[in-house]
């Protein structure tokens, strides 16, 4: 039962939600209002496509890029489910990508059941819808969704009903099971071949097992032989060890004997050397006496040498002193010469001391004269200056009186008493004063010239005074310098310096002559000393040579003694080693004898043991060397033999090992082969069982399709007749008949022979045909799967009002409680329903 639908961007509807009653819903509206679209929406939501619409894009609202429908419905199990489906439309071609989600609505919320986002396929949803609602796509098209065209068409039959009833599926399954059974039956024909192969493989494996057992026995024998040979090898290794020890000891003894011979030879050579030396130099005591005498002479020469050296030293010291004095005197003479030259240069430049003193006296006199002149001129100058000051003051007074006189020309009065004065007198006075002023100016002019001359003369005199003063200072300095130099020459460098120098030179010559003579004496003494030393050295060397030979003699005697001791010990050691070797070989020989070695071999060793016993009685190095060589040869020969045997046995061991591995590989391969074959046989037996089962399933579906086919027609006929009686107001037919080949409907109207019938599609009257069609459709809905709801779209367009209203009002009764969604736009108000939904 559908609880609600929500369509979004679906054909005409942008976003529409409708709730439905659980019984009879009447959906009405004008033409093209989008009523049928709701049914397409339900079909789209349940199955992902809509019959008659090739592309999803055809379902989408114009210019929209997505389309979606949500259904909430109750399942047969009593649960409520929400199914959401949408398609995204991409690009110009509007290719569609679909998504769906199926949830179960519970008290605590929504639970996901299936979702394309979780990887669930369309097939999963389809089977789930079939399980929840009991409808498949075919059933929906045939028995759930009615529209007028489909109602009439059904009367002529519909071959697809074979699919709707499941007949086609049953046939297909019977066919496929048959094919599968045949495939396995073909395979199981090979079971005897596999079983024969298995027997053969098992027999082959048994043969390889026997072979392996024999090879392993062979391997054990070889291993035993190798062990025996290895023990033998160990025994002869001990013989070898004894032989090697004997060889080492013999070698050591030979070395010692050789060393003893060598040292004896050396002793003889050194004794000869000693004899020759004594013959050549005499006895050591006489050489020592001569040496003592020579030493005494040498001491005397050395004393003389010492005295002479001291004498030379003293003379040399005297010479050094004289030389020093000579250098000092020569330095003083140089300094004196330099001062004299300096004095001469000054005298030549500025004159002698007396001349300078004369010049100084004259200069001092000139200086005094100039000083006097200067005093006179300065006095004159002062007087003139006083005159100027006085005359300037007088001139000022006269100019003041003149000014006042000229100002008071109109009314002249006495400036002291204020009494009027005669203007004529004033005029004369002005005249006198002017004359006086002229006189004063003339005096000033004449005295200013005088004053300038005096000033010029004063300046000249002062310069002269300064020049004379400088000259006096210079002369005084030169006189002082001359006096200083003269004093120095007189006091520091007397006349006796030259005489002293000559005396010193003579003394030096004398001392050098003495030194030369003494040096000659010294040379003579040294020669004597050398000669004496040489002689003494010769004696010393002779003594050392004699000592050296004596040391050699002593050393060689010590060495000889040591080596003789070692030789004796070596001999003992050698005899002891032979004894040990004899014992060891004797003991091992017993073991070898027990193991059954060849007679000649043991005899030879026994002989060797006897020889070893003899040699301890009569020592002979030659015999010992012979025993040692014989033993070595014998041991090496035997060891080579054993090694060769061992090598041969090892090769055999490797070979048998390889053979065993190969045999084991064969066994393993056969084991695998047997296991595989057994598995194959086991699988084939399983397949045999499955093939049998498939055959039975083939028969099940073969029978099932017969049952469905046989029952479908008769049940449908019964249901259609019953349904038609309920829908129609009249009881028209005695019988209806379904052709089981094409599902076409035939009817037998009342009053007609029961064996006669008319094809329903050709029955007269559209209303009659429509009624039959609806009966057929409703019956299908009831028979096939007990439809959970019916979608009926304008089924009664060509019916008269009475029949239409009657039929549509009766729908709930006919539907027997199944939910109905009816679309109509005729006589809406006259139809009784549970819910009216206007679009």
């Amino acid at each position: 039962m559908i609880q609600s639908i929500r369509v979004k961007n679906f054909r005409k509807h942008e976003d529409l939600t409708l709730d439905f009653d659980e019984k009879f819903n009447l959906i009405h509206g004008r033409n093209n209002a989008g009523k049928s679209t709701l049914f397409y929406g339900i079909e789209y939501c349940l199955f992902g496509n809509v019959q008659g619409f090739k592309k999803i894009a055809q379902l989408a609202k114009f210019k929209k890029n997505a389309v979606g429908v949500q259904l909430i419905f109750h399942g047969k199990d009593g649960n409520t489910y929400k199914l959401q489906r949408m398609h995204k439309l991409k690009g110009k071609s509007k290719s569609a990508q679909g998504f769906y989600t199926l949830k179960k609505i519970t008290d605590v919320g929504e639970v996901y059941l299936l979702s394309s986002d979780h990887g669930n396929r369309e097939e999963d949803l389809s089977l789930k819808i079939n399980q929840i609602l009991g409808i498949s796509k075919r059933f929906f098209e045939t028995g759930v969704h009615f529209y007028q065209g489909s109602v009439s068409d059904i009367l002529s039959g519909d071959k697809k009903l074979d699919i709707v009833f499941g007949i086609k599926s049953a046939i297909a399954l019977a066919d496929v099971f048959k094919d599968k059974a045949l495939e396995f039956e073909r395979e199981i024909k090979n079971i005897p071949v596999f079983e024969s192969n298995l027997t053969q493989s098992k027999s082959e494996k048994e043969e390889y097992r026997k072979k392996l057992s024999s090879q392993e026995k062979q391997q054990a024998t070889i291993n035993e032989d190798i062990k025996t040979k290895e023990n033998e090898l160990k025994t002869f290794e001990t013989f070898k060890s004894s032989s090697e020890t004997l060889s080492d000891v013999v070698l050591q003894f030979e070395n010692k004997k050789r060393a003893l011979d060598d040292i004896k030879l050396k002793e003889e050579v050194i004794a000869k050397e000693k004899e020759d030396t004594i013959n050549k130099f005499g006895m050591k005591s006489s050489i020592e006496k001569s040496l003592a005498l020579d030493k005494k002479s040498l001491d005397e020469v050395k004393k003389k040498l010492e005295i002479s050296e001291k004498q030379i030293e003293a003379i040399q010291q005297q010479i050094r002193k004289l030389e020093k004095d000579k250098v000092e005197t020569e330095t003083l003479l140089g300094q004196k010469k330099k001062l004299s030259e300096e004095l001469d240069a000054i005298v030549k430049d500025v004159g002698g001391k007396e001349d300078l003193e004369k010049k100084l006296t004259a200069q001092k006199k000139d200086s005094k004269d100039i000083s006097k002149k200067l005093a006179t001129l300065e006095k004159k100058n002062e007087e003139l200056q006083k005159f100027f000051r006085d005359i300037e003051r007088e001139k000022g007074d006269i100019e003041g009186i003149l000014t006042r006189r000229e100002q008071s020309k109109g009314k002249p009065i006495c400036e002291y008493c204020g009494a009027p004065i005669d203007p004529a007198k004033i005029k004369d006075e002005i005249k006198q004063f002017k004359a006086k002023l002229t006189k004063i100016d003339e005096d000033i002019n004449s005295n200013e010239k005088k004053s300038a001359d005096i000033k010029s003369e004063l300046l000249q005199l002062r310069e002269d005074e300064k020049a004379i003063e400088n000259s006096i200072n210079k002369i005084t300095a030169n006189i002082e310098k001359i006096e200083n130099l003269s004093n120095a020459l007189e006091t520091s460098y007397g006349e006796e310096l030259d005489t002293k120098l000559d005396g010193l030179k003579d003394s030096i010559i004398k001392e050098e002559s003495k030194l030369e003579s003494e040096k000659k004496n010294l040379t003579i003494f040294r020669q004597k000393e050398q000669e004496q030393l040489k002689k003494m050295n010769e004696f010393q060397s002779q003594i050392e040579k004699i000592d050296e030979i004596e040391v050699k003699v002593s050393k060689i005697q010590d060495e000889l003694e040591d080596i003789q001791t070692q030789f004796s010990e070596g001999k003992d050691n050698l005899l002891e080693t032979i004894k040990r070797a004899k014992t060891q070989i004797s003991e091992n020989l017993k073991v070898i004898k027990k193991k059954g070695n060849e007679e000649s071999f043991t005899t030879y060793f026994e002989k060797l043991i006897v020889r070893m016993g003899d040699i301890t009685e009569n020592f002979s190095l030659k015999e010992i060397q012979s025993i040692k060589d014989d033993l070595k040869e014998l041991v090496v020969k035997k060891l080579t033999e054993i090694s060769t045997s061992l090598s041969h046995l090892t090769e055999q061991k490797d070979q048998i090992l390889t053979e065993i591995e190969e045999t084991k590989d064969h066994v393993k391969r056969l084991d695998r082969q047997i296991a595989n074959t057994e598995k194959e046989i086991q699988i084939l037996h399983k397949k045999e069982t499955i093939a049998e089962r498939y055959r039975s399933y083939q028969n099940v579906f073969k029978d099932a399709q017969s049952i469905i086919r046989e029952n479908a027609s008769s049940i449908l006929e019964e249901k259609i007749l019953e349904m038609h009686k309920n829908l129609s107001t009249t009881d028209e037919f005695d019988k209806v008949f379904i052709d089981s080949n094409d599902y076409s409907l035939s009817v037998t109207p009342k009053g007609l022979d029961m064996n006669e019938s008319y094809p329903a599609a050709l029955y007269e009257g559209g209303g009659h045909r429509l009624m039959l069609g609806l009966s057929y459709k409703f019956s299908l809905g009831k028979v096939i799967g007990d439809a959970p709801f019916l979608l009926i779209d304008e089924p009664t367009e060509f019916m008269d009002v009475e029949n239409r209203v009657n039929l549509l009002s009766n729908l709930p009764t006919i539907a027997e409680g199944t939910q109905i969604l009816l679309i109509t736009h005729q006589d809406v108000d006259k139809i009784q329903c549970d819910k009216r939904i206007g679009i």
């Binding site: 199955f47 796509k137 699919i163 599926s169 399954l173 599968k180 598995k679 397949k687 399933y697 579906f701």
Partner: protein
């Protein structure tokens, strides 16, 4: 009228185990699903090759799984043995 076109009911009339009945019913539903899709059908309403193969695969999954149940383990053992050699 007691008869409905319900395969489970029809299968009760055959000598089958419960498991077999359930499997065959599911297989029948699956075949119906294949028949529901027009693209799976020939003009004479038979299954096309691809759909038939799908059906055969489904049968193999349902009834033949025990045929090869030990095969993977054995193959692994064989491989390890060869590797060891």
């Amino acid at each position: 009228m007691s008869f409905k076109f319900n395969i489970s009911e029809i299968l009760t009339g055959f000598e089958l185990s419960e498991r077999e009945r359930s499997n065959l019913a599911r297989l029948f539903d699956y075949t119906n699903f294949l028949y529901d899709d027009e693209t799976n059908l020939t003009k004479t309403f038979n299954l096309v090759k691809g759909a038939r193969e799908k059906l055969m695969e489904r049968i193999s999954e349902m009834f033949e799984s025990d045929l090869f149940e030990d095969e993977s383990i054995e193959a692994e053992e064989e491989f390890m043995e060869e590797k060891g050699q």
